[in-house]
Amino acid sequence: MNESLLVEVEGLRFSRGEKEIFRGIDLQIPRGKITAIMGPSGTGKTTLLKLMGGQLRPDAGRVRIAGQDVHRLPRRALFRLRRRMGMLFQSGALFSDLSVFENVAFPLRVHTDLSEAMVRDIVLMKLEAVGLRGARGLMPSELSGGMLRRVALARAIALDPELILYDEPFVGQDPISMGVLVQLVKKVNQALGLTAVVVSHDVKETLTIADYVYVISDGQVMAHGTPASLDDTGDARVRQFIHGEPDGPVPFHYPAPDYVTDIMTARVRQ
């Protein structure tokens, strides 16, 4: 085991029904760095995070976090391991029956015996870090999408985890809150020294903060390297993705029979 790696993914295979989502994925995620996993929509990036968090079981291969094989752990040990990780869901996934303050306090209350005063201090510190100390009394339904994600980030770092998994943190944000979130991801990584995995298809934003990038498509790692080295890669598919060209080796059309034949053949029953 390599000490400098926090997460190792080896030969990961996963399928949903007939559809093969991953056909042998290898990833190495170093400690203290921001590693980005990019790829077109529908390549199963969120699924990959759920596999890392042990919420889904792979068909083959393994995920090791801090030297522990996630999918071999008994249920109790898995939940203990998860206390050392934070995950930021795309929707924020705040508990809708708890206020902003109580949402951030939740991990502290269930996993620690801290006094009420101490919980309050920590919650306010975390909310201050995401700029929402003033919103502590609001309910999740009163927040905008960007604020929801920031509160969720405060909750994810409440227990000072070693690893934080971001699921599409920038998607669907206006330019200002996008900028705020980009800065926050960077700041949290630097200030707390934690390891970050950012799953995203927002190429520009992700490349500005990532230390290392994996591009996945068709269930495989297509390319990996530092953001600078990806720019001058020879692979046409990677270039297409990074520069956002609509058609190219990654086709615009979903696989279909020939257009003319399809229209001219009138079949009553398919």
């Binding site: 968090g53 939940f79 391991l81 998860r82 206390r83 996934a93 939740f106």
Partner: protein
Amino acid sequence: MSDRHESHRQGLPGASFPRAVFRRIRALGRGTLDMVDALGRAGMILVLSSMALPSREGWRLWLRQMHFVGVMSLAIVLVSGVFIGMVLGLQGYTILVDFGAEDALGQMVALSLLRELAPVVTALLFAGRAGSALTAEIGLMKATEQLSSMEMIGVDPLRRIVAPRLWAGFVSLPLLTVGFSVVGIWGGYLIGVQWLGVFEGSYWSNMQDSVSFFADIGNGMVKSVVFALVVTWIAVFQGYDLVPTSEGISRATTRTVVYSSLAVLGLDFVLTATMFGELG
């Protein structure tokens, strides 16, 4: 996909017969496997959540759910109980008075309620009022990734979300059944004694003589406990296991009410046959 292509290529009318039969057999097999699989998942949920050790936090969560599941169902259960009791009083009186046996009204009302109507009707009302709400609530938590995020915080949603609801349903339905019986008997009294003029002493004394604590009240409560387990189990399983879309939630909520009602009525027959079968 592939067999559609093959049948298209062959296009023989004779070839479609065994193909259709095989498709049926395959569908039957798959359906059975899916059902066994779902039963297994339901069993896992029951075991993993009900084994949670009671903690101080657990008590608090349970009490909160007792409020939502039990107390909030009280109104509908009690109102229905009064009306069922009143109807029993009316119907029973019109039949009994023909034989000059209206003194036995108390016995009739009490036995019908305790043995049969209170456990069954309360369970059906409970499935509609509380079961569907449980399914929708847990399902929406799943659809909005609240269950997933709780897992990633390192808290088992089976213990935190499912267990308190399961136990609250399990405890509150038998209590609601007791309430239903009490107000039902009072409803019968209201109609029989106050309105139709049955002698008050015989209404109560006939009831006292004929109702046995173990055979009638006890067996009725056994039924109620079984229904409580089944209805709550179905409700939390449907919520936890649903497809997290708006359509999935609506289907699961419907399934909760349909499956619970069928299970209650079916089990009622089985339990009646085993417990009261030899009473004659």
